[in-house]
Symmetry: C2
Subunit: 338 residues, 2 copies
DNA sequence: GCGCTTTACGTAAACGTTTACGTATTTCTC
DNA sequence: GAGAAATACGTAAACGTTTACGTAAAGCGC
């Protein structure tokens, strides 16, 4: 097996306490013994056992991250940021794919509890009562990313969806559009669904444009297919629509795909603005104008906040609204040009 | 703190050994005490401490996964599969983002060694000597996914890149194309670079079509930008090109984007076939015909193989070539129609 | 009812660390 | 150079489990 601290101690003719002190950079030994011990460590190839350490320190230097789907482009960018911050802070990250299933989520939380992770990052989903109970039991810090909790006081890192949607809509209005539709999420979704739809509606009304149910389709998810299926419906309800706000990039691109099939030219006949700024946004044709969420930064920030909470440097973490911006590409035309 | 096995034992008036036996489903207790202990567990909300377990069992029920980038669409799909298989097998997964840096990789391997992971999945990169040495030191099973090692005997899960490229090229030839170019990877890359270029070349030659350096551009990476920048170069070298094989979907879509900008119509004037079948392949316009790698399945399979190796059910794992297929979408036109 | 096996436990060591405490030696102070 | 303070260690307990071993009681065959 791997050499242990005992082996090193024996090899260097000192006690394990001394080895431990040297390994951990504490004081209480001479330069001479330090050198001797370091040579033994080198000679034996000693690696401290993080499990044994974790047992006594009650710290595993590990955090858990829960995503509704790990292969989503949104999740994966956030994950990269989290992993980055965690690594910089000396933590490893365990990924958990909840698949948006309550049962799986609970099962994973229990697992993370058994594994004694030092903290948790919870992404893109609503915090149910069951989850919160476990958070409390675990007594480890939790930070939310790309979501927030309406009922519980948990720190979050996200963008203001209402404002993002509002600005996106205003952007279209500024470009001279007046018949504007939206492909939205679900009214059951208090995080990304309602606020984005509300922002859309409020922007229209602020600028004296009409709003009715005809201006909106709702969807269970935020995927390509949702957008692709929504466009024809919306076009039926709002035949003179010249611009479209989609609540996600995937939906926007789905709508773009449907538009191509229907022979509707983007952006000449229909302008489209998305939401997220995924990597695909610049890859599609025409490149998608969209509301940019700094996903990687969000993950990074959430990771940093969590690390600080774990290290106890901050007692109470403040939540953070991250700045969004509108990335102008080619999917929106300016009607005022004409 | 969390209740321990001792607390349960005290509460139920038995020894910790009995509690342990009951928790682990071993034998050696009466139904009566079992019930009593289970009630105590319930009452106290006892959760076994996986760290302490890991210390004595020398098993952490955790595996490490190393990716050159976690936010890539390729990695994230593979990761989902791995996570799935690991979870089913009772393992957690620690993700590591090597960022294609040797230093980072080594640092992560050391970390995983300290954390005493039970196995490792290594993705999409070449296994350097340094890495292999650590694998040997760690004495845990390793499985490669979406890569293979030319020098070391490590089990891998991947598709046959040579054949994939060969078939992709043949597909274009079957569609009547004769001036076919390729946007390739690097000759330094023995995994995805050389075999795909060789497959391309051999397919041309098999069908009596000429091949020269003019038919190929090489690239450091496989990203959108690489493809976008390659197309004009290739078009200059091969002005009559009617079809194009790109060594990755991202490059294919980059080429498509460049084609749009140059006013070259896809697929009417230029057919494009990609490689990977990422989710974006069906989202772009026109939808991309491509060589499909079963990424999630590959991750899943690699995860299963690793779990079996860890559990010792199989002593030596056989490597697996996963089946690829050509997914026909709209980016390739059939010249024979005319 | 005597020996033997089986059952149902309990005791204690072990896993590899960290760390409080003790102690011998050195260094300092005057 | 005597006593105090600092230094450089070593000893052993603790972290929360699993498990080999021991043992008392129960069950069994005859």
């Amino acid at each position: 097996m791997n050499p242990t601290i005992k082996d090193v101690a024996k090899h260097a003719n000192v006690s394990i306490a001394t080895v431990s002190r040297i390994v951990n950079g504490l004081s209480g030994y001479s330069e001479e013994t330090k050198k001797k011990v370091q040579e033994s460590i080198e000679a034996l190839g000693y690696q401290p056992n993080a499990i044994a350490r974790g047992l006594i320190n009650k710290r595993t230097q590990t955090i858990g991250v829960l995503f509704p789907e790990v292969s989503g482009m949104l999740s994966s960018e956030v994950l990269e940021g989290v992993e980055n911050a965690a690594h910089d802070g000396g933590f490893s990250v365990i990924v958990c794919n909840t698949a948006s299933s309550g049962k799986r989520t609970v099962k994973y939380l229990r697992l993370l509890q058994e594994k004694r992770v030092d903290g948790i990052i919870f992404a893109s989903e609503d915090v149910k009562k069951e989850y919160y109970k476990i958070f409390e039991e675990m007594k480890v810090p939790v930070v939310l990313v790309s979501t927030a909790s309406t009922q519980y006081d948990l720190p979050y890192v996200r963008v203001n969806d209402y404002e993002g949607a509002f600005k996106a809509t205003e952007y279209l209005i500024e470009k001279g559009h007046e018949e504007i539709g939206m492909i939205g999420g679900s009214y059951q979704d208090p995080i990304a669904g309602i606020p984005r739809m509300q922002g859309f509606k409020d922007a229209l009304q602020k600028h004296g444009l009409p709003f009715s149910d005809d201006h909106l389709t709702t969807n269970e998810g935020y995927r390509f297919q949702n957008g692709k299926e929504s466009l024809p419906l919306l076009l039926k309800k709002l035949p003179n629509m010249t611009a479209l706000f989609a609540a996600s990039d995937e939906m926007a691109i789905g709508a773009m795909s449907a538009a191509h099939q229907l022979g509707v030219k983007v952006p000449e006949e229909l302008s489209i603005i998305g939401y997220d700024n995924l990597k695909i946004a610049e890859m599609c044709y025409p490149a998608l104008t969209t509301v940019s969420q700094p996903l990687k930064d969000m993950g990074q920030t959430a990771g940093e906040i969590l690390v600080n909470l774990i290290k106890g440097e901050k007692k109470e973490a403040e939540s953070r609204y991250m700045p969004f911006s509108i990335v102008e590409r080619q999917s929106v035309s300016d009607l005022r040009d004409k």
